[in-house]
């Protein structure tokens, strides 16, 4: 039940028509998604889900309330509007409320692939069968999920704004484990295009790592190591930086980017090769061209040549600080080079190769210090070669270390990430801290 531009616009119009207040914003999200899960080399569950969610924010004298529901007929929509307006009348004023945005001009990324929309149970089972074949041939046990969807998001306000974006998305992730539980490997791919998902390649990546880690390895002493982080591991840690790129926490003294009387914009904080940007129009990896409040998302450079250029700022905070608003990043591109992971490993005399990071949690926002564990393939590097598996380790480390102590950057690739398009390179990082050893495989 993915609403087209016309359907979403008509639903928003009917909501705005039902409104009696002058400041009303409407958001319509709709999706058709389907998945097939598998484990122990067989399907487990599968599902097809149709969703529509209509959300109405009504405001009177800066008193706002938001009501959302699954209604999509005119009577149901009118009821949501009525309830939002009734709640707004009861809500105390929010001095930070901003008047609704009027018409905006948006970029128009092409993010729908008709091939994804046509996928049915047969194609899902075929993709999973290809993964299982690779696992069986390697005497491994595969688990994972194939999931695809078609979704649209539309915004409208009583001031005349209308925004619409539709996209497809397909993700395949697979874990291969040795039957004795001593080895494990992971592979994943995510794209808006069906053709980008190569089930056999994803399965091989997982199977190769599982095979390489079969039998398990010794525990390394906790401490600082030179690490090669695959792109997925870089992205797992970089997520904490994405969440820290806000102006308000910085200006209020609650962030890594806080400075006496202001923030760190303009400071050279990272290595000279670091460039971090967002771009809804990236041809290979398009993303939503507007923020939740309807502000257009433009290509944005956050860090260039290691210098912090900007931080995200809400309309309210920007107005208060006398700056232009900057919507938060919906996509993240970290520039890199051309080297593969294998080539990066060749340049490391002694170190550790990390596939991905797991159960990552913020420890201290002042340092953007996070903790978590390596997972599904951790290997020793000696003399530029992989020298066998080692036990997984807990890290206590900051994405700031990645951007300051990067020795080499590889070829960027799209990683699996909920909520944002993330394209980052694998990296060689000096002085990465492992705090303890885990027996988990």
């Amino acid at each position: 039940m993915t609403l087209t531009r016309a359907e979403a616009q008509s639903l928003i119009k009917s909501a705005l028509k039902a409104a009696t207040l002058k400041d009303v914003a409407v958001r319509v999200r709709s999706s058709s998604t389907a998945n097939l899960r598998f484990a122990n080399n067989a399907p487990t569950t599968s599902g097809e889900v149709e969703r529509v969610d209509l959300s109405v924010t009504a405001t009177r004298d800066r008193s706002s309330a938001t009501v959302s529901g699954t209604a999509r007929d005119p009577a149901g929509v009118a009821e949501l509007v009525r309830r939002a307006e009734a709640l707004a009348a009861l809500a105390p004023a929010d001095p930070e409320h901003m008047p609704p945005l009027g018409p905006q001009t948006y970029l128009r990324p092409v993010a729908e692939d008709p091939a994804v929309i046509k996928v049915g149970p047969e194609a899902r089972v075929d993709a999973v069968a290809r993964v299982l074949k690779v696992a069986r041939e390697g005497k491994l046990e595969a688990s994972g999920m194939y999931v695809h969807g078609h979704q649209s998001l539309a915004l409208g306000t009583s001031a005349g704004l209308f925004a619409y974006h539709a996209e497809t998305e397909v993700t395949l992730t697979a874990t291969c484990r040795t039957p004795d539980g001593s080895g494990s490997g992971w592979g994943g791919a995510m794209s808006h295009r069906l053709a980008d998902i190569d089930a056999v390649a994803v399965a091989r990546r997982a199977a190769d790592k599982a095979e390489m880690s079969r039998g398990g390895g010794p525990a390394l002493e906790p401490g600082a190591y030179t690490v090669v982080l695959e792109a997925q591991a870089v992205a797992d840690l970089l997520d904490f930086l994405r969440g820290s790129l806000g102006a308000r926490p910085a200006d209020e003294g609650r962030s890594f980017f806080s400075r006496a009387g202001g923030n760190a914009i303009g400071e050279s904080l990272f290595g000279a090769q670091i460039k971090l940007r967002s771009d809804p129009m990236d041809p290979g990896n398009p993303s939503t061209p507007f923020a939740d409040d309807g502000l257009p998302l433009q290509p944005t450079v956050w860090i260039d040549q290691g210098k912090l250029l900007t931080l995200a700022s809400s309309r309210y905070w920007a107005q208060r600080q006398g700056r232009a608003p900057v919507p938060a990043a919906r996509s993240l591109f970290l520039a890199g080079g051309t080297a593969s992971v294998a080539e990066l490993v060749r340049g490391v005399e002694r170190g550790v190769l990390v596939t991905r990071l797991w159960y990552n949690r913020m420890l201290d926002p002042r340092q953007i210090l996070a903790t978590g564990l390596t997972r599904d393939g951790t290997f020793k590097i000696e003399g530029g070669k992989l020298a066998g598996p080692v036990k997984n380790m807990r890290y206590n480390e900051s994405p700031v270390t990645l951007l300051r102590q990067a020795l080499a950057l590889g070829k960027p690739e799209r990683v699996v990430n909920d909520g944002a398009v993330v394209v980052v390179p694998p990296m060689v990082v000096d002085g990465f801290h492992f705090a303890s050893v885990s027996d988990a495989v």
């Binding site: 998604t33 122990n40 569950t45 889900v49 149709e50 809500a91 999920m145 420890l363 201290d364």
Partner: protein
């Protein structure tokens, strides 16, 4: 019928509700008078019956039955249909103003089928005959296609046919308390915290949740249930700009399966100045010296450690590899049941879906299996698994433990954690007794950062507040404390437990698992307890 069940029925007033109580109906409601447990008041005499009778879901019951019929006609050997409605009211204030007044509703139908021995699932929020019969056919079609890759069909443990209804006990319906009253309470609490010099920011919120579901199975079961859950919260943040440091302190109140009476009892307004003072104390606390140390974990901290280290490792689906691609597996295996010591002899951990106030408490699960209470760890030995109908046969058990749950109409039911609680010690120690018996340690309370590996061996947890203990006395607050341990070593190091009087429930609305990811609400009760762990300093130094 046991006396506890009789007293439960009397307490909820549902036993006499002729409307609901038909011959052949079964009740498996939680007993209310078990100790130790927090006091939880029964619903007023007719509230439950009235809410059930007024339900919007009843209007769509015929559609649910039509969906079951359509699935069977299409070839399903088993089908269950859930009509599920969620209401979530979120009220938030920041500093001196309201930052969010939001009401989210969600309603739809989810249908799960077995066909040719494989599962299929389809969900829609469009409730008409065509939409639900299409969903039924789609679910059967995908099950049949999946079956081509199945080496063996799914097998379901038998369960009795039940017809019943249950409403979680509340005194005050949170959705009937005026918004203005709730917001005034939050603004007053925020003012109380902001009045403390040095505190720059306060966030306060109340999340009220109502979950209602009507489950109909092709085996003839019909279960109608309503759950109320509330989560009050208050966080004060103190900032020291000169030294570039800040510290936040959360109120340690737990979310609960309860009505608005629980929010009132949390006394956010009365507690706010103390929370604010403690944020300042954290800011100026001494950095912890790392090393091996005894820690006393207050229930407000220990509940999450129980959840992560025991709650997840005793999920049988994880141990069997069903979650290997995301949440992970378990360090426990079926062969170890009854043999593996994972804690000292004083460690008793009980799974319980009948615990009063427990967020995962219910009368029946999403497969119409009655709620139960059973041992997971007995005298330190691992003895029990969490199961559903398709898991029980995998370990030779005839009946499911009743752990099936879906977080929405649009989600498929799968194994989810019951309330898992550490039982208090027989010595009736108080927290003070534990402190007095500790030479050199740290008292840790509240929830901080937490992280654990995918097999649940190595964990590292923070907390909200840390007191240094020297020679049996609390000496000074500490900061930047985290504790790290291995699950089995941690539980084996447990050498002192508080008594029944010190037992408290903690819990979360967001226990994540599965793909696509689902959220489960779950509680964990425990007394304060003493362990030996590695203490880390997570700060940037002095």
């Amino acid at each position: 019928m046991s006396s506890s069940r009789r007293s439960f029925l009397a307490a909820t007033g549902l036993a006499s509700a002729g409307l609901l109580w038909r011959p052949g109906d079964a009740w498996a409601g939680p007993a209310l008078a078990r100790t130790p447990a927090p006091n939880s008041a029964p619903a007023s005499a007719d509230t439950g019956a009235r809410l059930l009778a007024q339900s919007r879901l009843l209007r769509d019951e015929a559609l649910a039955r039509a969906a079951v019929d359509a699935a069977q006609k299409a070839g399903a050997s088993y089908a269950d249909v859930r009509l599920v409605q969620w209401q979530r009211e979120q009220l938030s204030v920041r500093d001196d103003h309201v930052s969010n007044v939001g009401l989210r509703e969600e309603y739809g139908l989810g249908l799960r089928v077995l066909a040719d021995g494989a599962w299929g699932f389809a969900a829609t929020s469009r409730l008409d005959v065509k939409a639900v019969t299409d969903a039924a056919r789609a679910a059967v079609a995908m099950a049949r296609r999946s079956a081509l890759l199945m080496p063996a069909p799914v097998e379901l443990a038998a369960t009795g046919v039940v017809r019943g209804a249950w409403v979680s006990p509340i005194e005050v319906d949170p959705f009937l308390v005026p918004i203005a009253e709730k917001v005034d309470l939050l603004l007053a609490a925020a003012r109380g915290a902001m009045a403390v010099t040095g505190v720059q920011h306060v966030d306060a919120s109340i999340l009220s949740v109502r979950e209602e579901k009507l489950l109909i199975t092709s085996e003839g079961s019909r279960v109608h249930q309503i759950f109320y859950r509330v989560m009050p919260g208050l966080t004060a943040t103190a900032i020291d700009r000169r030294r570039g440091r800040f510290a936040s302190r959360d109120h340690e109140v737990a979310p609960m399966l309860a009505g608005f009476e629980h929010v009132r009892a949390a006394d956010l307004v009365g507690q706010a100045p103390q929370i604010a003072e403690e944020a300042l104390r954290k800011l100026h606390a001494a950095p912890v010296v790392p090393g091996k140390r005894q820690v006393i974990l207050a229930p407000s901290n220990l509940w999450l450690t129980i959840h992560e280290s025991i709650g997840h490792s005793t999920e049988l689906d994880r141990a069997l590899g069903w979650e290997a691609n995301f949440a992970g597996t378990s360090f426990l295996t079926p062969a170890q049941r009854g043999k593996l010591r994972i804690g000292s002899e004083r460690v008793q951990l009980v799974a319980d879906r009948t615990q009063p106030g427990g967020l995962a408490s219910t009368a029946w699960d999403d497969e119409a299996v009655p709620a139960q209470r059973w041992d997971l760890v007995k005298d330190g030995v691992f003895v029990g698994w969490q199961t559903t109908r398709d898991l029980a046969p995998k370990i030779g058990e005839a009946r499911s433990r009743g752990c099936s749950y879906a977080d929405s109409y649009a989600s498929v039911a799968f194994p989810r954690m019951p309330n898992v609680s550490l039982q208090p010690g027989p010595e009736n120690y108080t927290t003070e007794d534990l402190i007095n018996a500790t030479e050199d340690g740290i008292l840790i309370s509240g929830r901080g950062s937490w992280s654990i590996d995918q097999q649940r061996y190595n964990f590292q947890f923070g907390g909200q507040f840390f007191w240094e203990i020297k020679k049996g006395r609390l000496t000074r607050p500490l900061r930047d404390v985290a504790y790290q341990a291995n699950t089995v070593e941690f539980w084996n190091s447990c050498d002192m437990l508080g008594g029944a009087g010190s037992y408290r429930l903690g819990g979360s609305f967001s226990d994540g698992k599965g793909e696509p990811s689902q959220s489960n609400a779950v509680s964990h009760g425990c007394p304060p307890a003493r362990f030996t762990v590695n203490v880390l300093n997570t700060g940037s130094g002095a």
